[in-house]
Symmetry: C2
Subunit: 428 residues, 2 copies
Amino acid sequence: MTSYRELQVNGDRLNNTLQTTCSSWGALAGSATGMRRLALSQEDKEVRDWLVELCTALGCDMKVDQMGNIFATRPGTSKDKKPIGMGSHLDTQPAGGRYDGILGVLGGLEVLQTLHENDIQTHCPISLIDWTNEEGARFPGAMMCSGVWSTKSTTGLEACYAVKDTDGVSMQEALEAIGYLGDTPCDYRENGLESYFELHIEQGPKLEAAGNKVGVVTAVQAMKWYAVRVSGVEGHSGTTPMESRSDALVTASKLIAAVSDTARYTGLGVATVGVISNDTQSQATIPSGVSFIIDVRCSTDTMVADLSSAIFKKFDEIVQQENNSTSYHVIRNWGLPESTFHADCIEAVRSAAVNEVGESKIMDMKSGAGHDAAWASKVVKASMIFVPSKDGISHNPAEYTSPADCYLGAQVLLQAVLRYDEVVSRRT
Amino acid sequence: MTSYRELQVNGDRLNNTLQTTCSSWGALAGSATGMRRLALSQEDKEVRDWLVELCTALGCDMKVDQMGNIFATRPGTSKDKKPIGMGSHLDTQPAGGRYDGILGVLGGLEVLQTLHENDIQTHCPISLIDWTNEEGARFPGAMMCSGVWSTKSTTGLEACYAVKDTDGVSMQEALEAIGYLGDTPCDYRENGLESYFELHIEQGPKLEAAGNKVGVVTAVQAMKWYAVRVSGVEGHSGTTPMESRSDALVTASKLIAAVSDTARYTGLGVATVGVISNDTQSQATIPSGVSFIIDVRCSTDTMVADLSSAIFKKFDEIVQQENNSTSYHVIRNWGLPESTFHADCIEAVRSAAVNEVGESKIMDMKSGAGHDAAWASKVVKASMIFVPSKDGISHNPAEYTSPADCYLGAQVLLQAVLRYDEVVSRRT
């Protein structure tokens, strides 16, 4: 039997799988490498079907839970241990790239294939997980289904089922439509893990800037979203004097500018308005209603609360100053509390990474982006592996991580999982 | 034969026609009186078909021109005179009311019916005109097809054919699809009028506030639209520091606020951003591109130019201050120069209105909204008749003009046309 330490994932196969599945299911029209694989779309269904078929052929036990999360579990020698999880998501942004999420799932698949072809018997079962709707791009609410599984999200199963896309299709209807409304409970207490490892691209410029190859992720910053609605009164743009207007878009514009200015001014973190929608569709009409979502992220929950307060204090001042009968309301808020990863998992990732590239090419990092691992870490030991993103670009068709870095990430994932399994095995 | 002066339109029939056709074709879902009858939609086709059938039955000669403008002409006794035109438009805003445009066409139809059933022989032929895409809500470019007919618009026939709706359907395709791509030249030199009268709701509060019943419209204010594109760079909202961002929506928000602030500050006129669209559809992505349209209206062309200059000067300052590598470009501009109506037509409207309600209940007005009559007035003698809008509300489902005021408007239209015809007849 091959020694665990000598095992290597197949980088060519991983790159080939990644490029061909991206070309086949969800390639963004008019772009060589862009992706548009929205959660629970036809493209998402097809890549899921492919994954299920392949994992079944590898001898995995397949489960689909109530939120469509897929668990492909390769048995271990222990009969009573929960699986060590590896995973990420196969859905993408509306105009995203080939690596965000996808590398984590296909890297995990490559680990399963390597274990299979080398006939490795692990102590714990090993699960590959595809989490549903991580991006929250089609159904608002990022990391939605790992959030339900952890039971720590304030948005539970029924509330998530009811969330609708812009065409009015609910999450539950979409799950049914593509055949991924499973019956395994979406709850870590009933479908649990021993630990969870997630390989992901950095989505920022730090590894590249430092000339490093692997990020050992120790935490994920806190984040919160606010869906805001600004209300005014419709009117004719030619006949309504400036002083008689209640223009929702003018007020919304001042609020959106304040979101950015307040984040810059306080230095507490980052704040962004990524989506805006205006009820009015006519150039000759004064807008009566505008909706937008604020995304606030800071190192700690307290800093998120402080930055949010500063933003809404400024909102109140602006609405008062405008004095044009417009008003704003936060109609929904949701978020991800700060996450600190577990020393056992961090250590498994660090020692695997040091072994591959040496101490000088790795660095500890805090994630600026949210990940399914953040929710998982609320209920099981977890950590993450980051590999470099070219120019720090992500959520963009130009997103790129070299085949060598993808190989390295999957290799560190394999070795971290095996090291962790060894520790559990010794503990027994 | 009934004397011209005694002729009366049938107010009950007019109100019945207006309410039933609005209920049948284009009623806005979820609203008792709202309308959504977009230009060249199925609803627009159906109301056009109804109009053509009815006018044909009244003995009118029917023409559809190259932009789908419908001319229904009742012959006069003179063989060489061009028709006196009456008309407006049957398309509406996406969430408009039952009176804007519709009253002008159905009021003109009521005039034709009154002439027909009283067997009146006019000297000039009388044409009822339904102008295509006045609102510019589906195909951007308000008063588009009267603009082509006048040949004074900078947007000509071929350019208008190429304009697309948000689904990518071109104006030419839409005209073909509903069977209204006619072969009559859309050119006043080949399909001309002797003069043009347009009945319309005021769309503002002045008549009601003054307790008056009829506005004698002497001019239409100048207006100009600018399609603006703001460009930035997409990025991840969690991993991109505030100081490294090139956020197109932040810049666009500051520009939109400046449009309103500059109009208020200069006092030159009104300026509005009615539509905005953001390329990004993800709450976790820094927006890379935003488009919006600025609507500027003032009493004179010079004031429009001055207000526009002040707005764009402010834009340049903002982009420089932001210093975040975002930029803006005006990708298209179009407009309607100031229009002064003709004394002969104004006089016909005034004397008809005085005869109906007396000197004390009429007032001279300048229109704040654009109308097909503004383009028509560039090439033929023209004027307009305004009737009160309840609370000044328009471009809104709550738009309302009482049946009595609708009757009055159509009655003044009938008498103005007959008076004008009498003048032409005497001149011969």
